[in-house]
């Protein structure tokens, strides 16, 4: 074991791991964070806390991670290299580890253009691959990126994202390999709606043996409405929502759409369980956290293993 991370333990045990996500509030309410996290207690092995997701200002990921950790739950610190340079990123990692947060997700983040501060300067001192390298060096060599020694280095379990649906498709496996070279331990993928394409990607991943070097968790997001399906298809960069999914959501009456969305999501999980190399699921129920327990149960992923 590289770390004390519960997520690492579950993955290592060979069980399908489950992570979920919690977006901090656009305000100061600690109660709002706790409320969301409480819904997930017992249903996942780690809770990702988003970092100014879609470039909208929210309570800091680190602060919300601490609140959740203090509840005895395991938060996963999402970090984008968009808002912070390497000094700030590394100091957050030290701070997180001091609060017993031992799992981190390294991202480049959405461009500020998409958020509520399109006029902001974007940092990108590092990119996501270089952040992985940095955290790994902190953990394994006990050194900061700049080379100096760290007193009591943080033992972080290092995650990153992968989007099998972005272009060029032929690079998507190579880019994963690049993250593996940089030292990533686990991957959470972009939400999967185009299962065929995901399987194609996974096949190539397995062919190269990358699934043996990194745990790959499949990203799942339930759709609430046909409108949401349409929006994701059209507006969210790097999202691949096939017409069948949009049509299926639109084919049921409005009051049944939510249930249809959950059904799609469970069917997807069932299908993906059979795909070689899938080590778990990352269930992102955006502003719909209360549905996570139901999904986890109906998908046969409950109870979570004791590790």
């Amino acid at each position: 074991m590289k770390t004390q991370s519960v997520l690492e333990k579950v993955l290592k045990s060979g069980n399908l791991a489950v992570t979920s996500e919690c977006g901090p509030p656009r305000g100061t309410s600690a109660a709002a964070v706790r409320e969301k996290a409480e819904l997930l207690r017992g249903y996942c092995d780690g809770i990702n806390v988003t970092d100014n997701q879609t470039a909208m200002v929210r309570m800091s990921s680190l602060a919300a991670c601490i609140l959740i950790r203090q509840m005895g739950l395991h938060s996963i610190l999402q970090m984008t290299t968009r808002d912070k340079n390497r000094l700030a990123l590394q100091s957050d990692i030290l701070g997180a580890y001091a609060h017993e947060i031992d799992t981190v997700l390294c991202l480049s983040g959405d461009h500020p253009k998409f958020g509520d501060h399109p006029m902001a300067s974007n940092v990108y001192d590092l990119d996501s691959v270089q952040l992985i390298q940095t955290v790994k060096q902190m953990r394994d060599d006990g050194k900061f990126q700049g080379g100096a020694d760290i007193a009591d280095p943080p033992k972080m379990f290092i995650g990153a994202a992968a989007n099998p649906f972005a272009d060029p498709f032929e690079l998507r496996v190579a880019r994963l390999a690049k993250k593996v070279n940089a030292g990533v331990d686990f991957i959470q993928t972009q939400c999967i709606y185009n299962v065929d394409k995901f399987e194609q990607w996974m096949e190539a991943v397995v062919k190269r043996g990358l699934h043996k070097e990194v745990y790959i968790m499949a990203g799942i997001t339930p759709m609430k409405t046909a409108g949401m399906a349409h929006y994701m298809k059209k507006r969210v960069p790097g999202m691949d929502v096939p017409d069948e999914v949009v049509d299926r959501m639109a084919s049921v009456p409005k009051e049944e759409m939510a249930e249809e969305g959950i059904k799609i999501c469970i069917e997807t999980i069932e299908r993906l369980k059979k795909v070689e190399g899938v080590a778990g699921f990352h269930i992102m129920a955006i502003e719909w956290e209360e549905k996570v327990p139901e999904i986890v149960k109906r998908a046969g992923l409950y109870p979570r293993p004791e590790v």
């Binding site: 983040g109 959405d110 461009h111 060029p168 690079l171």
Partner: protein, 222 residues
């Protein structure tokens, strides 16, 4: 070249409003090529300014001139006489030229007439696009001759990010994804295998992060 665009007329008019004699100086280099601040643009702007103030019943006297280069002291010196005759200098050069005038003529107001944009190339007649950010440690040799720093919206060195769609950048369908371009070039150069080499964290000291930069060439000193 350095590209620029004339400032909005409103802003220019406000710069000139409080003066009765000004010197309007163009530059024969980059800003001439990108049609922002060469001799022609000096003529047009002077005419427009005069008309604007005439219409308000005010007479603005404008001395028009265009230097070979506004970023070299020897050319800036040529302005000495005319600068002496005016209340302010309006420069149509890039920010470098404006500052050279300010440096040489310490007691004279100088205003920029253009917004200096970027170091770029002409993609076709009338279209210029950013190509280089002067990072001070060029990586073009390993990125297929396409700059990830200037042309990737997130200046990422291990791209493409997850937002690349159909060859375009996540920020806009009008912007090419630099990493798609890099990858296409790597393929045509037969260098696909090099893609997976991780480019490590950069030393940005060679860029503006290290403070204002200078080049000193002792061999050229007079």
């Amino acid at each position: 070249m350095i590209t620029a665009e004339r400032k909005p007329m409103e802003e220019i008019v406000e710069c000139a409003r409080n003066f009765s004699r000004v010197l309007l100086v163009g530059c024969n280099e980059c800003v001439t090529v990108c049609a922002a601040g060469g001799r022609k643009e000096v003529g047009l702007l002077a005419s427009a300014l005069r008309m604007h103030f005439m219409k308000e019943g005010k007479n603005l006297e404008i001395i028009e001139t265009t230097l070979e280069r506004q970023c070299d002291p020897e050319y800036i010196d040529e302005l000495a006489d005319s600068v002496g005759q005016v209340d302010a200098v309006l420069s149509m050069a890039c920010g470098c030229g404006v500052q050279e005038i300010a440096r040489r003529y310490k007691d004279k107001h100088v205003f920029p007439m253009v917004n200096t944009k970027f170091m770029g190339a002409s993609e076709r007649q009338g279209v210029w696009a950013e190509r280089c950010q002067g990072c001070g440690d060029c990586v073009l040799g390993i990125t297929g001759g396409i700059c990830p720093i200037a042309r990737c919206s997130k200046r990422i060195l291990n791209g493409p990010c997850g937002g690349s769609t159909g060859g375009k950048c996540e920020i806009s369908p009008d912007v090419d994804c630099a990493w798609q371009l890099i990858w296409d070039r790597m393929k045509s150069l037969g260098q696909e295998d090099r893609y997976e080499e991780v480019m490590g964290a950069r030393d940005w000291r060679t860029s503006r992060d290290g403070g204002p930069r200078r080049i000193i060439r002792e061999d050229m000193a007079l």
